[in-house]
Subunit: 377 residues, 2 copies
């Protein structure tokens, strides 16, 4: 019943009875339980035709909140989202995953409490918590192997959060939550197969196939940065192989190459700003990086046949030449079948992809029929 109201906008008890095959009294009982839970609202609507005025039901997005955070190695974002998955209040933070859970978690909990107050909400409104981290998460609640984040391994995150907010906690890889967010933003277009590519210091991917994120057998799916580029030999990569796309066209490699021409460049943000400003040397470098990235994406497009490739991450700020370069190579190297109707686009959500993805991840669970059934006595 909730799914019909929330996802399909079904607004009357009569319609709910028809669609579910439940009796009208059975529908009435469920709807009044959902109203009690604050998940559904009703309001009188339109002129009465005699008898009781018709009442329209609606999903009550403001009937609760989820707390979300998207943490990188050096900084992060956090937010309070409503039950419709929209950001209510958000903030940037210098809290970084590398500082370890014993430092980060309590600080996160305090920051969330502050944001809740700012939003006029309380801990009682919180229905779920979700965090995206730059590591491998085997299950949605157990942290397996965060490369470079040893202190998170096996950390008891759920119990610590539960002391402040006794609700389900979800963890996922940072690129996966961005992919989930972008998928959410494309759901209205009927997109079921989406390849999200995070272009930042490194290069990673998140795979939406058949309408859901696919994490692989150990949560490690989406490793794209160590794909060898044709003609890439001779460029050593930190992974031990050589010719990997990350070593050739990742943000770190690109920044290094750009500094040969523009020694004053401090970071990727400045680099993408120069690209947007049309600096010819930087534009040429970014476009060439896009081409090399496209050669590797052609392989993934052939293998996965997505309907859309979404380019996100810091480098995606250098949108035009980057996307042009990627398109050039993908349409040339991938098969005609795999590229027919394929779109290659920059992120719709930008910096918010991870937060929206965390909210989607949490809400798809806490508003699932089983979870709602468990709430109702």
């Amino acid at each position: 019943v909730l799914r019909l109201i929330r996802e399909d906008g079904v607004a009357t008890r009569t319609e709910l009875a028809r669609l579910t095959g439940l009796s009208r009294p059975a529908v009435a009982v469920r709807v009044s339980e959902l109203i009690t839970q604050g998940l559904v609202t009703e309001r009188a609507h339109g002129p009465s035709t005699g008898g009781r005025p018709p009442v329209r039901l609606a999903f009550n997005g403001s009937g609760g909140a989820v707390l979300v955070a998207s943490l990188g190695y050096s900084h992060g974002h956090l937010a309070v989202c409503d039950l419709a998955g929209e950001i209510v209040v958000m903030d940037e933070t210098r809290l970084a995953a590398e500082r370890g859970p014993e430092m980060v978690l309590p600080a996160l909990l305090d920051r969330w409490a502050g944001l809740l107050t700012e939003a006029g909400l309380s801990a009682a409104d919180v229905r779920g918590v979700a965090i995206g981290l730059p590591g491998t998460v085997e299950e949605a609640s157990s942290f397996l192997e965060p490369p470079g984040l040893p202190r998170w391994e096996g950390a008891a995150i759920g119990p610590v959060v539960a002391q402040r907010f006794p609700v389900p906690v979800f963890l996922d890889n940072d690129v996966n939550v961005m992919a989930i967010g972008e998928h959410h933003a494309h759901r209205a277009d009927g997109v079921d197969d989406l390849l999200f590519v995070k272009l930042s210091t490194g290069i990673g991917a998140g795979l939406i196939l058949g309408g859901a994120i696919r994490r692989g057998s150990l949560g490690a799916a989406g490793e794209l940065g160590h794909t060898p580029v044709p003609d890439g030999r001779g460029v050593p990569c930190r992974c031990g192989n050589d010719g990997c796309i990350e070593a050739i066209a990742g943000g770190a490699a690109l920044l290094e190459r750009a500094r040969l021409k523009r020694p004053e460049l401090a970071d990727l943000t400045e680099l993408t700003a120069l690209a947007r400003a049309g600096d010819p040397a930087v534009v040429a470098l970014v476009r060439e990086a896009g081409r090399r990235i496209g050669e590797v994406l052609a392989i993934a497009v052939n293998l996965l046949n997505p309907s859309i490739v979404v380019l996100g991450g810091d480098l995606a700020g250098a949108y035009d030449p980057l996307v042009a370069g990627v398109r050039e190579s993908v349409y040339q190297r991938a098969t005609a079948r795999a590229t027919r109707r394929l779109r290659i686009e920059p992120s719709r959500l930008g910096d918010n992809a991870g937060l929206i993805g965390c909210a989607t991840l949490a809400l798809d669970q806490v508003l699932a029929p089983e979870s709602i059934d468990a709430l109702i006595p």
Copy 2:
């Protein structure tokens, strides 16, 4: 109820009532409907403890049949399978997909009728039909773009079959049905993420992720043969690019190279026989091809993080040196995370993978709860 009996081996009405939460009378009604449909059998079991003797229920694999065919460009296999997905009778055929549906379909229907008689079954026992073909199938029942098989495009396969067997018809790509078959053979091991690779004249893949085949947005997923091999430049491929793995290590390329040393070789079957017999020149060639294939599979393993890679197709007959070569490259090139607990193995089902996969594809649909509900008045 049927799923519990079929997949989990639940054998008593009492247990069914406990697991489903249905009342005992409700379970009794459903079970007797399933017995009427021939899908479930019961037999007295064990000594009575007084009162009625305990009765054990079992899924009745022989309560019906599915007709399956796996067609290649030059030859094919067809079979009658029981409802447990086991092959009852099978046959090879020189019916090839390239002869077009107007030729192939009527002949297939006659051959199936013959096999049914041989199995002591009749058309009334048939509950579904499934065919694997070397083309791209967008939906399970509409044939989209069979490369090299223009006559199949848009062919009205369902209606033609329905004149003889008025049951659901399922079509899929030949590599996809092999992947589904191998997944079926590994289901007992809890495998949810399996990469099937068909090594034959060409090279293709089937992706099982999250427990189901993933066909991509237009049914074209699994294209692996046109992945560029590092250092592969200079070898032109029929796709127009150069350095593709298929042009370097596909069956056709391998046969050509082997003939430089063994001019008498007629086909891949003879080549793999020589490899199995230990011919040093052929073994060395096959092992090197395995290494190059492994370089490409490392990319797919990084991206998908399967728990098992299954090698099938004609070349897989040259098992030992091929698998050794593949393993060598995959474990060297793929990341430590992606290869932890990764198995790389030859096909369990061999030539039968496509037939078993077709049976699985059909049975998962015709024995699904919705389909069973529709059968029962």
